[in-house]
């Protein structure tokens, strides 16, 4: 297991917790825990955590149609689904935007040909402004009507979108504008949450600085008398364009 190599004493002093803001010394802090834990010299050996037998907690059947499960779960979470094909992609997005009277959009595609395609389409149509990322902060996004992004995966079990990005600005594109449109390829749909995390099984760890978001429907709350309200702080509507 990969835990052994990064086990305790090997790196004890290379990256200790900070004390410059008034925090406790790491050695002192951890020593206080060892007593009640009854740490013995043999305990120092890193025991392996229990095996994650996913047959116990998998919630999807192997013969299930992942696309239809994804569509029904996403709808249940309040997401709107627009099924289309590669050719009609731009016009489908355009239709959603005009139906909602959007005046401008922001694009959050990472190294994707979609970015160029949409830019070309919108500039030919001359209907919409594409807001450029500003140099210092995300505040311009408060005046943008819709954010369009791609995803790195989608989960059928929960109807979730998965977005992984290194950029805080790209993350905000799916958060601040009142509408979020995500382009999902049918091939990107994974059956179960387990299948997404399986990628990390063989010592492949998420890269530093890359954050992952699971988005399951529009922002919602039931804080006031348990009554469901959609659109609290984040987007009021989430649209998935399924290619």
């Amino acid at each position: 297991m990969n835990h052994r190599e990064s086990s305790s004493n090997a790196h004890a002093s290379t990256h200790p917790a900070l004390t410059n803001m008034g925090g406790c010394n790491q050695q002192e802090f951890l020593t206080r825990l060892k007593d009640p834990l009854e740490v013995t010299p043999t305990h120092d050996e890193f025991a392996c955590p229990p095996i994650l037998d996913d047959s116990i907690f998998r919630t999807t059947a192997s013969d299930e149609d992942v696309v239809s499960r994804f569509v029904s779960q996403a709808k249940a979470a309040g997401t709107q689904i627009h099924e289309t094909n590669e050719n009609d992609l731009c016009s489908t997005i355009n239709r959603i935007l005009t139906n909602h009277k959007c005046r401008n959009v922001s694009l959050g595609f990472v190294d994707s040909p979609m970015d160029q395609r949409l830019r070309a389409y919108f500039s030919a149509e001359k209907k919409l402004d594409i807001c450029p990322p500003s140099s210092d902060n995300s505040s311009y996004l408060f005046n943008v009507d819709a954010g369009i992004t791609d995803v790195c995966a989608a989960i059928a079990e929960t109807g979730s979108l998965v977005i992984t990005t290194q950029s805080r600005h790209f993350r905000s594109i799916s958060l601040i504008p009142p509408m979020h449109i995500a382009v999902v390829n049918r091939k990107q749909i994974l059956a179960d949450l387990i299948d997404y995390f399986d990628a990390f099984r063989d010592d492949v760890k998420p890269k530093p600085g890359f954050s992952t978001l699971f988005i399951t429907g529009p922002s919602k709350t039931a804080d006031i008398e348990g009554e469901l309200v959609v659109g609290v702080h984040g987007p009021r509507s989430v649209h998935i364009v399924l290619v």
Binding site: S6, L33, L213
Partner: protein
């Protein structure tokens, strides 16, 4: 956000009452308003049913296996907590985060203030986090000259009102729409109806203006992943994302028990958290934060600080109580608990953590003699154990705490005298038989004070018991003892069979 000092002290008092805490006295206040008790009942029951439905749909007859496995993973982590914490500190630092350790609340507040001041922060946005509630961070920041806004809708209302959250998942479970509308009109000058949709819109517009100027975000964490140094945060409203994504400085405050070994463990634990607390398959937003944004981003400056807090948690680490630290704060045991539902919600427990889990951890974190009432606030029906996603045997823990309270001589002298007499009577048969005379006497007294016949049986009920026993009948009736006792019945029975 400023609030008047009297209401601030009121909110502090609710969750940090003068010690020792008197639960009975507090419950007189929390159960005063029938409407509020009813609302709490309804919401808790709905959430309980939603959990049940989504668990059955997802796991069917594997539910016991699922909770056993989740419990084993959390228990394993706690058994090696020192090692996993060290590993987390290591990996989080590698991915560019700054990790600080706080022994207690005061130290955690100091670290937060120092970080905020070193960046010259003036406006802080906070997402809902019970641990920041526990260390009373908000008032510390405000008195340090940093304007602080709660952004979770429920917490925002509670902050405006000078109230305190009454449930770890749904903080304003005790309030009705009218009183929330009144607060918004008074404190924000908003013209709004009491429709939850309108009220939410008022908060949305107000807080969006705050997000633009905020320069510090403070959040809790649902999980800390040791092998990758990842912070996991689950929210439904999206405020948690504003807090972690928009301001240049982000502080995470998390208890040491939040650490889990592997990133893959999330595939199980995330499945359980949302289903247990609201019945959703996954919260709307689940963020896995893997360090601050690196170079080349248009929004460049970004710093993430993680404060790992002990604050009494290590008191729970000895083997008998260690399993209590498995808790992932889903709130399922609160919704399932008949006492929580009837006691008027979380305020009845005088602590941030309420319900069965609060009854078990609060005395251990803040002193058994300070909270001696809490372990008794349970009917030991076992519902909390049944719904717990990480298999904590809460009833057993509460029994252990009751036992500890007894050995610490917390019961009154009178109570221990009564029990000693009781033990004496049980030891000597002639004394035991003598008590049956008291029994008959009591029946007579009962008969006098009641007059109320049970419509279904021939039994009488004591409405007002005399003298010392009167407390027992203030909220319930006592069935009158039968005129024949067991021994009497046994002798008669044997006579009957021999003849």
């Amino acid at each position: 956000m400023s609030q008047d000092t009297s209401s601030e002290s009121h909110s502090l008092h609710l969750l940090n009452p003068p010690l020792p805490f008197d639960m009975k006295l507090r419950m007189q206040q929390t159960t005063e308003n029938d409407g509020s008790v009813q609302r709490i009942q309804n919401t808790a029951r709905t959430k309980f049913a939603q959990r049940e439905k989504s668990y059955t749909e997802a796991f069917g007859d594997r539910q016991t296996d699922v909770k056993t496995l989740a419990g084993q993973i959390k228990q394993h982590t706690l058994d090696h907590l020192d090692q996993y914490l060290e590993q987390f500190i290591q990996s989080a630092t590698k991915s560019g985060m700054k990790v600080h350790l706080a022994r207690d609340a005061a130290q955690a507040r100091k670290i937060c203030l120092n970080i905020a001041q070193s960046h010259g922060c003036k406006c802080c946005i906070k997402s809902k986090s019970m641990v920041t509630e526990e260390i009373q961070l908000l008032s510390a920041l405000e008195s340090g000259g940093i304007e602080t806004y709660e952004t979770d809708l429920g917490e925002f209302i509670v902050q405006l009102d000078g109230d305190a959250p009454s449930h770890i998942v749904t903080p304003v479970i005790h309030k009705d729409r009218e009183s929330i509308a009144r607060t918004f009109r008074q404190k924000l000058g908003a013209e709004t109806t009491s429709d939850p949709e309108d009220l939410t819109e008022v908060a949305r517009q107000y807080l969006r203006n705050v997000y633009r100027k905020a320069d510090l975000g403070i959040s809790g964490a649902n999980f800390l992943v040791a092998d990758t140094g990842t912070i996991v945060l689950c929210t439904n409203e999206g405020n948690g994302r504003f807090v972690t994504e928009v301001p240049p400085v982000h502080i995470v405050v998390a208890g040491i028990e939040k650490v889990i070994p592997r990133i893959n463990d999330l595939s199980l634990l995330l499945k359980l958290l949302a289903r247990s607390s609201t019945g959703q398959p996954l919260t709307v937003y689940t963020s896995l934060i893997n360090g601050p944004t690196q170079h080349g981003d248009p929004v460049s400056t970004h710093e993430i600080n993680v404060i790992l807090l002990d604050n009494g948690r290590s008191n729970l680490l000895p083997a008998p109580t260690r399993s209590l630290l498995r808790c992932i704060r889903c709130g399922a045991c609160l919704n399932a608990c008949p006492v929580f539902r009837h006691a008027g919600g979380g305020h009845a427990y005088g602590s941030v953590y309420s319900g069965p889990i609060g009854s078990a951890i609060t005395p251990l974190m803040r002193g058994v003699s300070n909270y001696s009432d809490l372990p008794k606030a349970s009917s030991l029906c076992g519902s909390c154990h049944q719904v717990c996603p990480v298999n904590i045997n809460l009833p057993q823990q509460l029994i252990n705490l009751r036992q500890e309270a007894v050995t610490q001589q917390i019961p009154s002298r009178l109570e221990s005298l009564i029990y000693r007499l009781f033990a004496l009577c049980l030891r000597y048969p002639f004394l035991y038989r003598a008590t049956s005379y008291f029994n008959k006497l009591f029946t007579r007294l009962g008969g006098i004070s009641t007059g109320a016949h049970d419509q279904f049986s021939n039994r009488k009920w004591v409405k007002h018991a005399p003298w010392l026993f009167r407390h027992w009948t203030t909220c319930r009736d006592l069935p009158t003892p039968t005129s024949k006792n067991f021994q009497h019945w046994w002798i008669l029975r044997n006579r009957g069979s021999s003849s």
